[in-house]
């Protein structure tokens, strides 16, 4: 392949546009989160900087960039500075293959899904390096937790992506969207969709899976020693990842820019794709506002004992359907059948005994009964002259 100058310029232009688009998208997510969370908590969120507080993320960015660059003295300098880059660059690089609309991508790789998986694993290395190179106990604890959590939750993501690849017959994002002509894969394989969303939450590090940078315990985890611009990079990477999970959910499971409207002008397709992405992201924020965070051992056991078996079950069921040529609705049925028992068990496991216990406590509460009041004394209005009431201070 010869590399002509026009090619290089064209690709650079596309990359530059992509960087801006992704950065603006991540910043819009910052704004959306603060507004949504604010409304859910009974307050309004940012309102002062710009109309509706729209310029708030820019103000945050400027503030972070202006902060003093502090690195702990005992940290390893080179690794300390490289770690944020190792987190940010892979999460940005995946966007090269993501199509925003029909023919709206930088490069349509035939191995797009595989590319995504490979790069998301690279991000884990960056986090662990951040924790280790900070040379602080809280950071090391956070680094360990993040390594364990992220590596474990990669497996369900890989499995569900494989399911989608099998259904579409291709590893390229474009083909996956084109294959969802009639029915989106969320309807075909709700099990895979559910597992993907949960595992995606854990991969991004959002509540209820944000133990590794839990503010109320390890005060930032691997990020605790980073300040200013470095922390801004981590922050941005987290939001880009969140947007990525939303975009992937929209493309792989909800039909991207195509379903249900088919072939429409590019702008409308992009709007539909963004709408679906933001819908998934809004659900992610909603979950953050509602749930406390899981403890690390509960998180790990949930991943290994619940999500991984479910993702394998989805894979096996899809394989059977393709091999034996069952109709599509059979797949939906089977995946619902597999999905329902874990939900049922989960509810029975914690909630039902707690409700029974609450009822029991209502019964054993000690009741105190009011005694009859004595007849109230009439208001005393006569003179209060009594010995020893002079003020002799």
């Amino acid at each position: 392949m010869s590399l002509e100058l026009m090619d290089v310029v064209w690709v650079s232009l596309w990359l530059f546009t992509l960087l801006n688009v992704v950065a603006v998208a991540a910043l819009s997510l910052v704004w959306l989160e603060r507004k949504l969370l604010g409304r859910m908590q009974g307050r309004v969120g940012p309102t002062r900087v710009g109309p509706f507080g729209l310029l708030q993320p820019i103000a945050d960015g400027i503030k972070l960039l202006m902060k003093e660059d502090i690195a702990p003295g005992s940290s390893s300098r080179v690794l300390f500075f490289v770690a944020p880059l190792l987190v940010f660059v892979p999460s940005y690089m995946v966007w090269i293959t993501i199509p925003f609309g029909r023919d709206l991508f930088v490069r349509n790789l035939d191995l797009g899904l595989f590319f995504f998986v490979a790069l998301s694993v690279l991000g884990i290395v960056g986090l662990v390096l951040a924790g280790w190179s900070s040379n602080s106990k809280y950071a090391i604890l956070g680094g360990f937790r993040s390594a364990a959590q992220l590596v474990s939750y990669e497996i369900p993501i890989i499995m569900t992506i494989l399911v989608v690849a099998m259904l579409a017959g291709s590893l390229s994002f474009h083909d996956v969207v084109l294959a969802q002509d009639v029915v989106p894969y969320a309807a075909v394989q709700p099990l895979a969709f559910g597992v993907f969303l949960l595992a995606g939450l854990a991969e991004v590090g959002r509540t209820p899976f944000d133990i590794y940078h839990a503010e109320s315990e390890v005060v930032g985890g691997p990020f605790v020693e980073y300040s200013g611009a470095h922390w801004a990079i981590f922050f941005l990477a987290e939001y880009i990842n969140t947007f990525m999970v939303g975009a992937l959910g929209a493309l792989l499971f909800l039909g991207g820019w195509r379903w249900p409207v088919g072939d429409v002008p590019a702008a409308a397709g992009v709007a539909l794709f963004l709408f679906k992405t933001y819908a998934i992201v809004a659900v992610i924020f909603w979950v953050r506002a509602t749930y406390p965070r899981m403890r690390i051992d509960q998180l790990m056991s949930f991943g290994w004992k619940v999500l991984i078996p479910l993702s394998f079950a989805a894979f096996v069921v899809t394989a059977f359907q393709m091999f034996y040529g069952w109709p599509i609705w059979m797949l939906t049925l089977l995946s619902l059948v597999i999905l329902v028992p874990p939900i049922y068990i989960q509810l029975r496991w914690q909630r039902t005994p707690a409700m029974a216990l609450a009822k029991h406590y209502a019964e054993i509460a000690v009741a105190v009964h009011a005694q009859p009041r004595p007849v109230p004394v009439a208001a005393v209005t006569e003179a209060h002259a009594a010995p020893g009431t002079e003020d002799d201070a």
Binding site: L37, M40, Q41, G42, R43, K137, Y138, L141, T207, P208, D210, I211, A214, E215, S216, E217, V218, V219, R288, A289, T290, Y291, P292, R293, M294, R295, I296, D297, Q298, Q346, L347, Q350, R351, A354, M355, L357, A358, H360, Y361, A362, I364, A365, V366, A367, V368, H369, A370, Q371, P372, R373, P376, V377, A379, V380, H384, A386, T389, D391, A393
Partner: protein, 370 residues
């Protein structure tokens, strides 16, 4: 819980220092860790020690009331009540009935405000960031009422020896009834979000278990003790003011874990709200302060009086030598005594559990250190 070591590893000491988002004030916990398991916890207190007890020896009795506001700065009126009861007991003063009703209404409102703050901060310690906003909203409503009645949102100096400072405003009754309705809805909102939430249950059930015998030996009181199954409530067992004329329930738990302590406090909120409306029904016009000297001079003697703080049993031991200043004023702070129970509860659990257990004890450092 026994912790067995499989490998020959070194214990790590993790300092949850005086500055930490989850320690509810200037409190330092040194955890000895084996990986993620806590082997031992050493609490260090004294960062907020202001010498309150010694200060009291130089202040007249009226001035001591202001000091008691600042010991437990979340349940101010309950503390003022505790001290005023001690001084009144020593002087054998019988407070007029209307004053008692006002005191109890304000104390119970303060209890609800304190528990609302507890639920909110406990939730955010565990990662749920919404209930704290609701809790503080309810607390603001109650503090609005306090400002209308006492003149201050927090350090009220309203409950005085011999009664209350002045009568309540004319719209007190309807205003409090409206407040009860609003606060009840707010607490129910937090209840719906948290109590049967799967993740919350997983984080708090079975965590920080303390059995009744250890709890009694350690000196735990209040909702922490009731969560372990001991049905001791000062309002029930040593009734004071007009509590004998109210019907209510004292919620108790059985397992002694964090969820039980949280649930006991939640139910106490509802019970307090119903107590307040009973008080409003029973309250009648009358005097609100006893005729007495401006500067109280109790006779020589000693008295020990204890009341129910939102955190437990606050006791005031007053030794008087006949002058206008106390000779010795010893405060029994419930949070101080509850903190002794932190070590038995935390041994063998995870780091994340240490935060959950400390939160469930509901300590206020002003009380712990005085």
């Amino acid at each position: 819980m026994t912790t067995e070591r499989q490998h020959d590893t070194i214990d790590m000491m993790l300092n949850m220092g005086p500055q930490h988002p989850a320690t509810h004030g200037v409190f330092r916990m040194v955890l000895t860790l084996d990986g993620e398991r806590v082997l031992d916890v050493t609490p260090h207190i004294g960062y907020l020690h202001r010498g309150s007890e010694k200060l009291c020896e130089g202040e007249s009795y009226g001035q001591v009331v202001t000091l008691f506001d600042r010991i437990d700065y979340i349940a101010n009126l309950n503390n003022e009540l505790a001290f005023c009861r001690a001084a009144e007991r020593l002087m054998s003063i019988e407070v007029p009935e209307r004053a008692m009703y006002i005191r109890v209404i304000l104390a119970e409102l303060n209890r609800v405000a304190s528990h609302a703050l507890f639920i909110g901060t406990y939730a955010i310690d565990l990662g749920a960031m919404t209930p704290v906003m609701y809790g503080f909203r309810e607390r603001e409503r109650i503090q609005n009422l306090f400002e209308a009645v006492t003149g201050a949102r927090m350090m009220h100096n309203f409950i005085r020896i011999g009664g209350v400072k002045e009568d309540v405003p004319d719209d007190f009754g309807p205003r409090v009834r409206q407040l009860i309705g609003q606060v009840r809805e707010g607490i129910e909102e937090m209840d719906r979000l948290l109590t049967f939430n799967e993740v919350y249950l997983a984080r708090t059930r079975g965590v920080g278990v303390i059995d009744a015998a250890t709890a009694i030996s350690v000196g735990l009181t209040g909702p922490s003790l009731r969560g372990s199954g001991v049905a001791y409530d000062v309002r029930k067992d040593d009734p004071y003011e007009i509590y004998p004329y109210l019907s209510y329930k004292v919620p108790i738990g059985e397992n002694g874990d964090c969820w039980d302590r949280y649930y006991v406090r939640l139910q106490e909120c509802y019970e307090s709200l119903s107590m307040i409306s009973q008080c409003l029904d029973q309250m009648e016009a009358g005097p609100t302060m006893v005729q007495m000297r401006r500067i109280a001079r109790p006779p020589k003697g000693e008295v020990y009086v204890h009341s129910e703080n939102p955190r437990g049993d606050i006791g005031v031991y007053l030794v008087s030598d006949g002058t206008d200043k106390p000779y010795r004023l010893k405060i029994r702070p419930p949070s101080f005594c509850n903190l002794v129970g932190l070590a038995p509860m935390t041994r063998g659990s995870y780091i994340a559990d240490a935060v959950a257990i400390l939160g469930s004890l509901d300590i206020v450092l002003g009380e712990v250190d005085r």
